[in-house]
């Protein structure tokens, strides 16, 4: 019985892994399949004779890719820092206190996500040009923070909610100040989750295209830079571009998997 169940679990896990990985494998094939590969029929599961670096090579030779990547990192880092700095305190307040206006706040931050950003582009662009944020990674980061903030606030609020208030109160009883109690008791428990939230903010910024391309001319972020040349290119270029956008995400999630794992670790102490 136990072995059967374990077998079922193992199959499920493997199947779900395949569900994620197989599509990525195929876009990789598409990216390296060259122009002829796109129309080949039937397609094989292995790289065939149409294998070619041409599309990828063209992409990597476009001037300014490195600068754009640098801009992306700056924008995403600022976005990450700001959304935690603004979102985590809000999340704490939402989790620990009940106060008039609480639901109003929740609605406000959700509204941000419920609104199609593109529609705001014009008024925002005008404001940004006036204050000198136009065509800077900082300007892009600010908009991205508006996108990431609801996630930061809501996720950290559910994190803090999950940390028993009694722990904190016990610390007060033992003479800790509010700040001390927060720093010594709550923060260590919440930190991995907050780290994951920060990563998420980074990824949101990294992948956002529309605002980034509207608000910049020279200082493009990588995604915006690639996508302006991508959207109307032939399919094999699009697959190559799609692949190039996915690779950093995979590497990135891989690099921070420790944090994702750490969130898990606590429960198993």
């Amino acid at each position: 019985m136990k072995t059967v169940r374990r077998l079922v679990y193992a199959t499920g896990v493997v199947a779900l892994c395949a569900w994620v990985l197989v599509p990525i494998y195929f876009i990789t094939l598409g990216a390296f399949g060259g122009r002829a590969g796109v129309f080949k029929w039937p397609k094989g599961v292995l790289p065939g004779e149409t294998f070619s670096f041409a599309a990828m090579d063209t992409f990597l030779r476009i001037e300014g890719v490195a600068h754009a990547a640098f801009n992306s990192v700056i924008a995403a880092s600022i976005c990450m820092a700001l959304s935690i700095a603004l979102g985590a305190p809000a999340g704490y307040a939402l989790a620990r206190y009940s106060f008039p206006g609480q639901n109003l706040y929740r609605l406000l931050i959700l509204l941000t996500r419920a609104f199609p950003l593109a529609i705001l582009a014009l008024p925002l662009t005008v404001i940004f040009i006036r204050v000198g944020l136009y065509d800077t990674p900082v300007g892009v980061a600010l908009i991205h923070t508006a996108l990431a903030l609801p996630f930061a606030a809501l996720i950290s609020s559910s994190l803090f909610m999950g940390i028993p208030r009694e722990l904190e109160e016990a610390a007060w009883v033992f003479g800790c100040s509010r700040v001390q109690a927060f720093r010594k008791i709550v923060l260590p428990l919440a930190l991995p989750g907050i780290a994951a939230t920060a990563i998420f903010a980074f990824v949101i910024s990294w992948n956002e295209v529309f605002a980034a391309s509207i608000l910049t001319v020279r200082e493009r972020t990588l995604t915006a830079y690639l996508l302006t040349v991508l959207s109307e290119s032939p399919l094999h270029f699009r697959f190559a571009g799609g692949f190039l956008l996915i690779v950093p995400s995979i590497a990135f999630i891989f690099a921070v998997r420790k944090y994702l794992f750490a969130m898990w670790g606590i429960a198993n102490r």
């Binding site: 009940s98 959700l110 199609p116 008024p123």
Partner: protein
């Protein structure tokens, strides 16, 4: 409560409120104003044009259809994934990584991935042909095959956006003390009972967050649909884009935007009522 702590929550919220006010509320108010005015004169014309458009009702229908199928499916799958991860004796690190990869994939890239799979000469058809199920390239994504088109979009959305639900639920699960479950086990509860009686109720705050976020985001679905279906599957946000970019009618685009916000707000309020979390019950 002391006087100080009465103001504390507001103090904690203030920075984010100010930030959103500057970057979001002001342009939002301007947009709402645009949707109700024509050259300065108040009007409902934009809303009339929106509702009278041939794509309006299909877009409403498609968006809702997608939300009510995608969101429950994703929550169910994510719950399954989270519990599986919990039971996994080895390799959690690796599995967690793989399962969260789509989290980092932009919606445009995800659309491209699924287009590569599902297009007429794509990998899915190649596989089906190899198995002898179809004779040659078959079209799944046209206006003549709305059923398979919908399934294609559904698959892509589930692939792309389940990870966010998963990660929120894992974050919630890890906060449930292990002792609760151990106690249940000692009392002979079946895994299913433990899950239903212990895990689910304790997971409520996380579930609430995940549901609200996913629903709001699902109403905004656009890039994936666009990549896979083009014009064949109008959705609300897509229509807003078309009115703004192609038709250059900002008023109508603004009306769509306001409609989307109202719908998302309504959905949020429903969730907040149905899934009351602990602090709120206490108050």
């Amino acid at each position: 409560m002391s006087g100080r702590s009465r103001f504390l929550p507001y103090l904690l919220l203030a920075p984010s409120v100010l930030f959103l006010a500057a970057l979001f509320v002001v342009p939002l108010v301007e947009t709402i104003a645009i949707s109700f005015s024509d050259n300065g004169a108040p009007t409902l014309d934009h809303y009339r044009r929106m509702a009278g458009d041939l794509n309006f009702w299909p877009a409403v229908k498609n968006t809702f259809l997608l939300v009510v199928t995608v969101v429950p499916l994703q929550v169910a799958i994510a719950l399954g994934m989270a519990s599986m991860l919990q039971k996994l004796p080895r390799g959690r690190d690796l599995v967690l990584w793989i399962w969260t990869i789509p989290l980092g994939v932009s919606d445009l890239a995800a659309g491209l991935v699924w287009l590569a799979l599902l297009q007429e000469r794509g990998y899915l058809n190649s596989a089906l042909a190899a198995l002898g199920l179809i004779d040659g390239p078959t079209q799944w994504l046209t206006y003549e095959t709305p059923g398979t088109l919908f399934v294609g979009i559904l698959l892509a959305e589930v692939w792309r956006a389940t990870a966010i639900v998963f990660i929120i639920l894992v974050a919630g699960l890890q906060l449930i003390p292990k002792e609760y479950r151990e106690a249940a086990e000692i009392f002979g509860a079946s895994p299913w009972t433990t899950f239903r009686r212990i895990t689910l109720p304790l997971l409520k705050p996380s579930l609430q967050t995940a549901l609200i976020l996913r629903t709001v985001l699902a109403f905004e679905v656009f890039a994936v649909v666009y990549a896979i279906a083009g014009r064949n599957f109008p959705v609300l946000v897509g229509e807003a884009y078309v009115w703004q970019r192609d038709n250059q009618a900002y008023g109508v685009a603004a009306a769509y935007a306001v409609l989307i916000v109202v719908i998302s707000l309504a959905a949020t309020v429903v969730y907040l009522r149905v899934l009351r979390s602990r602090t709120e019950e206490r108050s």
